[in-house]
């Protein structure tokens, strides 16, 4: 059986167990043998992007130690995959990022499937998260997977390509600007009338959901959870 390692990310480890569970279900449904190395923690992105290079390098090396033995590492985060692929070479010289696949990349480019046999009879709008779209170049891969879901009603999100204002510590350091960006994202999301807002990163969804849970609007959901749903 084909073996893949699962990197769940620190955010999901702490807050969102349903997303990595969904990834396990999808991959096993497709016949993969999923391995979860329990020594994994964080890719180091928060430290790197906040300017703490040495701390980030320590965590990058730890990532290498944990995942070095796998040919394919799947993660439900465009941002963390981009960290490994774009920043590790400069931080530690590691090329392990070439083997780290964001879920939609793995499903479409490696497994060669777009229809994963999911059913989700709901209205959904999709927010293309910045690092996944721009740093990783996911393009419309997550959307292609969503379009193949049975019963789904996808609604376009206006100004979808605009950042939600999360940006890691940006949300705290420039709280006011971040909040202004979030307000526009939430208004656009609410305007779609969709039940769910899907994305490829739970950190961005924490931000958007943190806003819509106050101002009203669609419920945040990682697209992996939609792909894992069956009739």
């Amino acid at each position: 059986m084909k073996r893949v390692a699962l990197f769940i990310t620190c955010v999901n480890d702490a807050l969102f167990p349903e997303t990595p569970k969904a990834v396990v279900r999808i991959l096993e449904r497709l016949g993969y043998d999923v391995d979860f190395p329990t020594a994994q923690t964080c890719c180091g992105q928060m430290h790197a992007n906040s300017g703490y290079r040495r701390d980030a390098a320590t965590l990058a090396r730890a990532f290498d130690d944990v995942f070095g033995g796998y040919d394919a590492i799947v993660t439900p985060s465009g941002s963390c995959a981009a960290m490994a692929r774009d920043q590790y070479p400069h931080l530690t010289g590691s090329a392990i990022g070439q083997r780290v696949h964001e879920l939609s990349e793995f499903l479409i480019d490696v497994a060669g499937v777009e229809d994963v046999g999911a059913v989700f009879p709901h209205t959904v709008t999709y927010h293309p998260t910045c690092h996944g779209t721009r740093a990783l170049g996911l393009g419309d891969k997550p959307l292609r997977l969503l379009r193949a879901v049975g019963g789904i009603d996808l609604i376009d999100l206006p100004a979808a390509d605009q950042c939600c204002g999360f940006g890691g510590t940006f949300a705290l350091k420039n709280s006011e600007v971040s909040s202004a960006m979030l307000a526009d994202k939430c208004a656009n999301a609410a305007g779609t009338g969709a039940e769910y807002l899907a994305a490829a990163d739970n950190s961005c969804l924490t931000h958007i959901g943190g806003g819509t849970s106050r101002s009203g609007g669609p419920r945040p959901i990682h697209y992996a959870e939609i792909l894992a749903s069956t009739a």
Binding site: D13, P20, F170, L172, S178, S179, M181
Partner: protein, 480 residues
């Protein structure tokens, strides 16, 4: 000229006077965010230019190859800058120009002021120029008893309003046409009676006002978009024709040019003249492109001076990651797509170069200042995506953040987080503790108010509560 008749002073309040230039970015941004008219003007203008740029950039099949080529040319210039600068000097001098070298703003201003006096003038007309904004030439001239008149329409608006530019290309982007009408009416001195806010009427008023200046000016000051080493030529790219007037009518022309503007050969312009108009104004072709090489007898200015300006640039050149900021051709595409700039405008950045490019250029040109600017970004990457010379702005932002300095409290928090994350067992314990500690909130599902620094989050967003069962628990359970 004495057309500066006392204008009625109304309640015009320049935006730059409301947004504190010396305050840290988050503070200044907060002020700008609280100005609804400013935000509406910015959102409208950036949205319009953004759409135009996307349309015309999308028309060229070889757009990506043009970007790659431009980036390669600029990287080559940065590797050979001393050699190219000397080559430019030799060729410009041979063509009749006088080349001056200025280490910093003070030297450049002093040379320019001396040249104006030598021309027997006490005022100059100006072509829009970021280099002269950078060295605060107008302010220096004023202190020396010289007058500098801006002739670019938007720069004229800003100058009349006694404001500061808020955008590299569209310095008056923060004004709408009604506000511009009021500025002209009260400050221009010779604005026609009953001036309306019709754009054509406003342009005509400016045109008549400026015409008198062009006809009487003995000296002009310009910058340059490009300086061609191979020929000693300077190039100015503009769209109103005011630049052409300044560059051809006065007897003396003084051009202040950052040394990073050099290009090796004339043929390189072919690449940049495709990229610049499409990236800046969203036009396929630039309306007025002026190229001049030294002096031509009986045609145009007979005293041609070029001041090559360093002002921190060689310092930037020494940083292998940061130096790509010197590739900038000042198109402003990064400002127009930036979600932060769109909401704050340029004044909040407290530097003549605002937006994403300013956030990487300002702290490098003035080391030790503007340390807050590299953080004025969510690292969304929209700037890098549109940059015609492929400056990897997010990469440089992160690079500059890594140079520090960092606040002690933050340093301690990040160190603690790293200490936990680098030890898997400790990490698991910390997560268990968080799940246990979150019990009181679990029924509500969200935490709505946290003490500082968590309050920076909960000011506008709820925070989800850690789950009862972690993924790890679930995994262990199903492994059995």
């Amino acid at each position: 000229m004495s057309t500066d008749a006392p204008a009625p002073r109304g309640d015009l309040v320049p935006a730059a006077s409301l947004i504190p230039a010396d305050a840290p970015f988050p503070k200044a941004a907060k002020v700008a965010l609280g100005m609804p008219q400013l935000r509406a003007n910015l959102a409208h203008a950036t949205g319009t230019i953004r759409a135009k740029r996307a349309k015309v950039a999308g028309e060229l099949d070889d757009w990506e190859r043009l970007r790659d080529t431009a980036a390669a040319v600029k990287a080559d210039v940065q590797r050979r800058l001393p050699e190219l600068a000397v080559q430019f000097e030799a060729n410009a001098t041979a063509a009749g120009a006088v080349v001056h070298w200025a280490r910093d703003a003070a030297e450049a201003n002093a040379i320019a002021a001396r040249l104006v006096r030598e021309a027997g003038a006490d005022e100059v007309v100006k072509v829009k120029s970021m280099a002269t904004q950078e060295i605060e030439l107008n302010e220096h001239f004023e202190a020396e008893g010289l007058k500098a008149f801006e002739t670019d329409l938007a720069e004229l608006i800003v100058q009349l309003a006694e404001d500061k530019p808020s955008h590299i290309l569209v310095p008056a982007i923060h004004y709408n046409r009604t506000e511009i009408r009021d500025i002209f009416d009260r400050r221009m001195g010779d604005a026609p009676a009953g001036l309306t806010d019709d754009p054509a009427a406003l342009a005509e008023a400016a045109r008549l006002h400026l015409r008198r200046r062009f006809l009487s000016a003995k000296a002009a000051v310009s910058g340059a978009n490009f300086a061609v080493a191979e020929t000693g030529s300077l190039v100015v790219v503009e769209s109103e024709g005011n630049g052409r007037m300044c560059l051809t009518m006065p007897e003396t022309l003084i051009s202040i040019v950052g040394i990073e503007k050099l290009l090796p050969s004339f043929a390189d312009l072919e690449v940049f003249m495709q990229l610049l108009p499409r990236s800046s104004t969203g036009e396929r072709m630039n309306p007025y492109t002026s190229v001049w090489t030294g002096v031509r007898e009986g045609d145009g200015p007979q005293n041609v001076h070029v001041i090559l300006l360093d002002n921190g640039r060689t310092g930037v050149l020494a940083d292998e990651v940061g130096r790509q900021a010197l590739s900038c051709i000042r198109c402003s595409a990064c400002l127009n797509v930036c979600p932060v700039y769109e909401r704050t405008g340029g004044h909040a950045y407290g530097h003549v170069y605002p937006g994403p490019i300013g956030a990487i250029l300002a702290p490098q040109l003035e080391p030790g200042r503007h340390d807050d600017l590299p953080y004025a970004s969510s690292l969304c990457g929209a700037c890098y995506e549109v940059c015609p010379v492929k400056i990897n702005i997010p990469e440089v932002l992160v690079h500059l953040r890594q140079q520090g300095p960092h606040a002690a409290g933050e340093r301690a928090a990040m160190g603690a987080a790293e200490a936990v994350m680098a030890r898997p067992r400790l990490w698991r314990t910390a997560l268990r503790a968080a799940r246990f500690g979150a019990m009181p909130w679990r029924r509500k599902g969200y935490m709505r108010r946290l003490p500082w620094p968590g309050s920076k989050w909960t000011v506008s967003r709820n925070l989800p509560v850690p789950p009862k069962e972690s993924f790890r628990d679930w995994w262990k359970e199903r492994d059995r």
